[in-house]
């Protein structure tokens, strides 16, 4: 196998699982709460900085910092739900007010990160260091960990939604909110739970990815935009769509990058998406408003 090909495949699978991991949280929240959470990148950043703080200021190992970062991100997302989302649930203007609130939270988080830390790039150590080469391509062990984690989380979320009482309740709420409340399912509390789970996923992505991209106050922005694209490509609210679209776009982007150069990667992805949306306006697995989790 040529080095180029292996490089493209490896990069594609790695990108794909990263995109999928970020998109999973976005698509869950959209599917269940009908909330377009533009603070998803900010939650990613909160998780990363908390982990950075634990590692560099408290001098604890990254394996301790990881769960703390994830919990902090989940708690931050839940707090966002309590203060900004819950008060407007079921009110007219929910879409607009939550859109503005989540953008506002993003701006506030990056400003806070600059004030508390500083705008310089930070380094979070990988969970596993080291790498090996395959056809002259460097495969990092952290990269393999990211791929494995992402796939495992998709499986976990799928099993949770399909077989557990609370997971089924999330689907029930997303499909027919009024009936769910008549079945004694606490709708608002279920929303809070979904938002916290999504926050934990974003925080985990933040801690695992920062060794690749470095950490700065805006480092959640690009992953969030990519995740948004993946979510739209896969069909808003579809978990399967997020998984498939993450890998399709990741691998496509990586091949374009390796064979035609970095400059073509983003335009190539957008071209692919535009073509796909002409054929399937609701995304790969979306069937409009009807399709829920």
């Amino acid at each position: 196998m040529s080095t180029q090909f292996v490089q493209a495949v490896w990069g594609g699978i790695l990108f794909g699982s990263v995109y999928g991991l970020m998109a999973l949280g976005l698509t869950l929240v959209w599917g269940a709460v009908r909330l377009l959470n533009l603070a998803h990148g900010a939650i990613f950043v909160v998780g990363s900085y908390v982990a950075f703080f634990v590692v560099s200021k408290l001098n604890l190992p990254i394996l301790v910092a990881l769960p703390i970062g994830v919990l902090a991100a989940a708690a931050f997302a839940y707090l966002m739900h309590l203060i900004f989302i819950r008060p407007v649930i079921g009110k007219p203007g929910f879409d607009n007010s939550t859109l503005i609130a989540t953008v506002g939270i993003s701006i506030a988080v990056s400003a806070a990160a600059i004030l508390i830390f500083n705008p310089e790039y930070k380094v979070i150590p990988p969970i596993i260091s080291g790498n090996f080469t395959l056809s002259d391509v460097q495969i990092t062990k952290q990269g393999l960990l990211v791929i494995g984690t992402s796939l495992a989380l998709f499986a976990l979320v799928y099993l949770f939604l399909t077989y557990t009482r609370r997971g089924m309740a999330i689907r029930a709420v997303s499909q027919q909110q009024e009936a769910a409340s008549l079945m004694a399912i606490p709708v608002v509390r279920t929303y809070g739970m979904v938002i916290a789970i999504s926050g934990a996923l974003a925080g985990l992505a933040g801690v695992l990815l920062s060794p690749f991209f470095f950490l700065n106050p805006n480092s959640g922005f690009n992953p969030m935009i990519q995740a948004l694209i993946v979510t739209i490509f896969g069909g808003l609210g579809s978990v399967r769509g997020a998984l498939v679209a993450g890998f399709v776009l990741g691998i496509f982007e990586s091949f374009v990058e390796v064979y035609y150069g970095v400059a073509w990667a983003q335009p190539g992805v957008f071209l692919l998406i535009i073509l796909m949306l002409i054929v399937r306006p609701n995304g790969l697995f979306g069937i409009g408003e009807v399709r829920r989790l």
Binding site: M168, A172, Q175, Q176, S181, A184, I185, P186
Partner: protein, 233 residues
């Protein structure tokens, strides 16, 4: 068990119910009869918290539940089977039923209830794995009824059990509601057809333009053909 006092409710700009007084006792079958558009659904929605009343009180076993959220009212035992069934379309028949027993029981208790519902509607068991959105109108209604029965209801509120169904299916639906009544569950049924509910009713209320105009024992009221004719048309 259920007491409604001076209930006033409506939607933006228009008052639909103008002070309703109604009660349902333990084990009783109570029917609210009225033509379409006179507030039957609004009454059930206001009782189970889907619509917040403007005035009046709803009491369950003496406890004021007027401002409770729908999920809390359902958990307290008032289980509402709404018009249009409102199934979970992308969930299977079995999953829909299990959601009916969301509150309270353990998984073994849930499967015991599932067994009882399957006894009542053997058909639901055969179709267990089918998605709810692929069912026909009559099948949906049975599933909605079965899902309501999965809960630990004290009182089942059913909105127009036969709305939009073919005559044969209508018969099946009322036959199964009969069995439910015999099991001792209290019922509050909103309907527009006196013949359908004749065997189910202990007491009847007549609802007209948002007010209860008559009430009485079923044998008395439902036998008065002249009254029903003038009233339901």
């Amino acid at each position: 068990m259920l007491e409604v006092k001076g209930l006033v409710a409506g939607y933006a700009g228009s008052e639909v119910l103008h002070g309703i007084d109604l009660e349902v006792n333990e084990g009783e079958g109570v029917i609210v009869l009225g033509p379409n558009g006179h507030g039957k659904s609004t009454l059930l929605r206001a009782v189970t918290g889907l619509l917040s009343p403007r005035a009046g009180q709803v009491l369950l076993d003496g406890k004021d539940i007027t401002r409770w959220r729908p999920d809390a009212i359902a958990a307290a035992g008032l289980v509402h089977i709404p018009q249009g069934d409102l199934l979970f379309p992308e969930m299977t028949v079995t999953e829909n039923l299990l959601m009916g027993a969301y509150h309270g029981p353990t998984w073994s208790e849930r499967s015991a209830r599932l067994g009882r519902v399957y006894e009542l509607f053997p058909w639901l068991k055969e179709r267990g794995g089918q998605l709810a959105r692929t069912l026909s109108g009559g099948e949906r209604r049975m599933l909605a009824l079965g899902r309501g029965l999965m809960s630990k209801a004290k009182l089942l509120l059913i909105d127009e059990p036969s709305l939009g169904l073919a005559p044969l299916t209508t018969q099946q639906i009322y036959a199964s509601i009969h069995k439910v009544k015999e099991s001792g569950l209290s019922l509050l049924i909103a309907d527009e057809n006196a013949n359908h509910v004749a065997g189910l009713a202990d007491r009847v209320y007549l609802l007209e333009t948002g007010s209860l105009v008559r009430q009485g024992p079923a044998d008395e009221l439902l036998r008065d053909k002249a009254l029903l004719e003038s009233y339901l048309g």
